[in-house]
């Protein structure tokens, strides 16, 4: 099985600092171009949140040689699909096209990396401000439970912590985005030496490298910038928040600060979450949903990022069930694991699921190339599927118990989202 996880690639660094990873897979005549910029909402400041995500919009508004609306049109006309996404630490842009259109994708990506500002106007900004505000309304404000994550993040991390605000930004900050700030943000972060480019699919190495050099070589290096400030202050007591919303059923959330991305405990907590809620036999699922039937659903997950991570448990109460009843049962289950650990069978089930999911993840070129970029950006080694899987295979029963004890005994944020008429 390890054969197919051991990928072959070429890595080059251009004179301007752009990292380029080439990965050949000729099973289907497609090519994926995937560009990570090492900038996310963590690079923003309190009062000016939402910039990294705004760029996910502005980068599709055309650049010096690409008219507004043409970026999408060129890719769609070529039969490709495209998108971008923003997280706490990075923004990615990607397109998958028929393999003979690689040049088009590199032309478009390089034009907006090197020549975006020549085409940036107040009118474009005003339009995309409106679109982003509507995105915020649609995805968060008008969604049942839609505000839960920003409530959790802003309570788990202090005001000057880079993970304090939501990636999309606070509405009041989006409303007052200014053109000058947008220009400064772009100049600071969207440079070749702050990016990593992965090209995967039906390619020839030398041709793909030549094309990349042709379009990216002339883009100048960006200036260095200061590291993100991370306050050392941690949550020292439990914070409980009750939020009323347009919902029918109440939900309870627990959030602990936990291991950061690729930390060994990051894998441990992934397995723990699977043992808690990954299936009907998950400890919490079995107890709250299956046996006691006090919860409609329950899930848990480890959400890890560059600076730190979070371990989250979310449960929806059945109609008429008090959230405190859920809370006390969740505590019972967690205490049982902290004291007595998990079983061999539970552990084996989870590890088998993880192993299979690594193989399943190879099916889609776009997501595979994005994972290669993740490895290259965060670990410096594109071929890390095997070592990533080994993080899980090295674990044992004790590591699960130890991690539960180490993290879940700490202070946490407890959020209740309840129907407006009740409390």
């Amino acid at each position: 099985m390890n054969d197919i996880l051991n990928i072959k690639y070429e890595k080059h660094i251009l004179d301007n600092g752009l990292e380029v990873v080439l990965y050949q897979d000729k099973s289907i005549p497609l090519v994926s171009v995937n560009l990570w910029y090492k900038v996310g909402s963590a690079n923003e400041l309190d009062g000016k949140t939402g910039f990294a995500h705004l760029f996910e919009h502005m980068m599709f508004q055309g650049s010096k040689n690409v008219a507004k609306e043409k970026h999408f049109k060129f890719i769609e006309e070529a039969g490709g699909n495209l998108n971008g996404s923003t997280s706490l630490d990075r923004t990615n842009y990607y397109e998958t096209l028929p393999a003979n259109s690689l040049g088009l994708a590199l032309w478009l990506e390089s034009d907006r990396m090197g020549f975006l500002l020549e085409a940036l106007t107040q009118e474009k900004l005003d339009n995309q401000k409106d679109v982003v505000m509507n995105e915020r309304r649609q995805r968060y404000d008008n969604q049942p439970y839609g505000l839960s994550w920003e409530i959790i993040f802003s309570n788990l991390f202090p005001k000057d912590h880079p993970y304090h605000w939501p990636t999309i930004g606070w509405m009041k900050d989006i409303e007052k985005f200014e053109l000058n700030d947008v220009i400064d943000f772009f100049k600071k972060y969207y440079s070749p030496n702050n990016a990593s480019l992965v090209i995967g699919g039906d390619i020839e190495y030398s041709l793909a490298l030549d094309l990349t050099k042709k379009y990216f070589n002339e883009i100048p290096k960006g200036k260095p910038f200061a590291d993100i400030f991370v306050p050392s202050e941690k949550l020292t007591k439990v914070k409980k928040i009750i939020h009323k919303d347009n919902v029918q059923l109440s939900k309870i959330y627990f959030a602990w600060e936990a291991a950061k991305l690729y930390d060994i405990d990051d894998a441990t907590l992934d397995v723990l979450s699977d043992i808690l809620t990954g299936s009907k036999n998950g400890r919490l699922f079995k107890s709250l949903v299956f046996e006691k039937q006090i919860a409609q659903d329950i899930s848990s997950f480890q959400y890890s990022a560059n600076i730190t991570g979070m371990f989250i448990i979310v449960a929806t109460a059945k109609p008429g069930v008090d959230l405190n009843e859920l809370k006390s049962e969740i505590e019972n289950v967690l205490n049982e694991i902290i004291e007595n650990g998990v079983t061999e069978k539970e552990f084996k089930r989870s590890i088998n699921t993880v192993k299979a999911s690594f193989i399943y993840s190879l099916q889609n070129l776009n997501s595979m190339v994005n994972q290669i970029n993740n490895y290259n950006t965060n670990l410096g080694e594109p071929n890390s599927f095997i070592s990533d899987l080994e993080r899980f295979q090295k674990l044992n029963l004790n590591s699960i118990k130890d991690a539960a004890k180490k993290y879940l005994n700490n202070s946490y944020v407890e959020l209740h989202i309840v129907p407006k008429e009740a409390q």
Partner: protein, 455 residues
């Protein structure tokens, strides 16, 4: 050296794409199988489909198909619910039962060396579910809560009620989840009888995609799928009632941060010959990012995060639908712009737009056959809509051959301003005054369950 950037680079050569070929065969018990061998990765996708989606819900028992699809994997053969789940998980196999209006789909993704055991468990689920009273009570309660939960999901409220208005008085009227008053009356026997009647080989088909040899696959399928009961299943396709004048409907949601908008009307079925020209016409209007609707309402006006239009197809019916969610204060303006775009489409489509959208569909064709799940989905499309065996062989040609006049004819016949149903879900205080400004028609107010509200 300065790089020439002012024009996009030309394509490098032609794409060579070989459409993978599927095989069709029957099992000893009569079940149809579509199989496509794909050796690239050690993964197999299995999709066991039973023709008993929610349109087969008996009268007064809406939601029964959905509940059956959930209970079917709560224990089978010698395994109770938790044991069965554990057996599947130990294999690393992903099992996902789902229900739509037409079918129940028991779908698995498995590593190929775990295929036989996964198939054995899938066959147990299909043929020998336990249907214990205890599991029934628990899952029934969960379904009742799920129905309540959806009442605050604006996009769900809009889409399910739009279906109900467009497809009213037909077997597609109710949502897949069913109505509270119906689900409350269910007994475990309802589920047992539903399964007994419909889960038979002559009412099911199997789609398999992955790295297996056909002969070996056939042998294993015959070994585990041995049930040979055959049932006569008949369901009379209703006539769908066409609406002959525009109508406005409104559903109130207190303090809604946006308005959900649905606009559309009944249309023809998926296997009609004008499918391709309809698809191209819709693509120009609202089928992709660079469509007229999206470039106007999102990229020019900023009213929305996105707007989309589609011809939606169920097995026995189709309808046209524009859907979006917009800032509340822009609701009236948004509807006017939608009307303007529909009117504009009827005046003219340009050669440039037609060439653009043809290019999009023909060039993206290979990417529709990337993953095993995508291929399985394509094969199930052939079955569901009774398309010809060579549908995909002719796909590119059919798109390319559509003429401007065929596309214009489709627009005239299938996008009908005078039959439009408008449904808006939003805050009454903000939305109603705007609606009254843009139409003289009566605005019919519904509750979240689609019942007419009388003031």
């Amino acid at each position: 050296m300065k790089v020439e950037r002012s024009n996009p680079p030309q394509n490098n050569g032609e794409i060579k794409f070989h459409l993978p070929k599927f095989k069709r065969f029957k099992l000893n018990n009569g079940m149809d199988v579509l199989f496509l061998q794909k050796n690239h990765l050690p993964i197999v996708k299995i999709s066991l489909q039973v023709n008993c989606g929610s349109k087969f819900d008996p009268k007064g028992k809406s939601g029964l198909a959905f509940l059956t699809s959930h209970l079917i994997s709560e224990g089978a053969g010698e395994y109770n619910s938790l044991q069965l789940d554990e057996e599947i998980e130990l294999l690393g196999t992903l099992f996902d039962p789902s229900t739509d209006n037409d079918i129940i789909n028991l779908s698995m993704i498995t590593l190929s060396d775990k295929f036989e055991r996964s198939l054995e468990l899938l066959a147990l689920i299909y043929q020998s579910p336990l249907f214990s009273e205890e599991d029934f009570q628990r899952e029934k309660q969960k379904l009742l809560s799920k129905i309540i939960q959806n009442k605050n999901e604006p996009s769900y409220v809009a889409s399910s009620n739009f279906d109900k208005i467009i497809l009213g008085n037909s077997f597609y009227e109710n949502s897949v989840l069913g109505k509270t008053e119906d689900v409350k009356t269910f007994t475990n026997n309802d589920v047992i009888n539903f399964h007994k009647k419909y889960f038979v080989p002559n009412n099911s088909q199997l789609i398999v995609v992955g790295n297996l040899e056909k002969d070996n696959l056939k042998f294993l399928l015959n070994k585990y799928l041995y049930l040979d009961t055959l049932n006569d299943i008949e369901l009379v396709t209703p006539t769908f009632s066409v609406n002959h004048s525009p109508k406005f409907y409104f559903i109130h949601q207190e303090n809604a941060a946006q308005s959900e908008i649905r606009v559309g009307h009944l249309s023809n079925r998926r296997n009609e010959t004008d499918y391709f020209s309809k698809t191209l016409a819709n693509s120009i209007l609202g089928g992709q990012f660079s469509s007229r609707l999206n470039l106007n309402l999102r990229e020019a006006k900023g009213f929305t995060y996105g707007i989309h239009s589609a011809f939606v197809y169920y097995k026995d019916v189709g309808y046209f639908e524009i859907s979006t969610s917009v800032n509340g204060k822009d609701t009236g303006e948004s509807i006017l712009e939608i009307q303007k775009e529909i009117a504009g489409l009827k005046i003219e489509v340009t050669e440039e737009e037609i060439n653009f959208t043809k290019s999009y569909f023909t060039k993206r064709f290979p990417s529709m056959f990337e993953t095993n799940s995508q291929i399985a989905h394509n094969l199930s499309t052939l079955i569901r809509y009774s398309l010809s065996e060579n549908y995909f062989d002719n796909y590119i040609e059919r798109i390319s051959n559509c003429t401007k006049s065929e596309i214009e004819k489709s627009i005239a016949e299938h996008i009908k301003a005078d039959e439009m149903i408008y449904l808006i879900v939003g805050d009454r205080e903000i939305v109603m005054p705007q609606l009254k400004k843009i139409t003289d028609l009566e605005i019919i107010e519904l509750d979240v369950d689609g019942k007419i509200v009388n003031f």
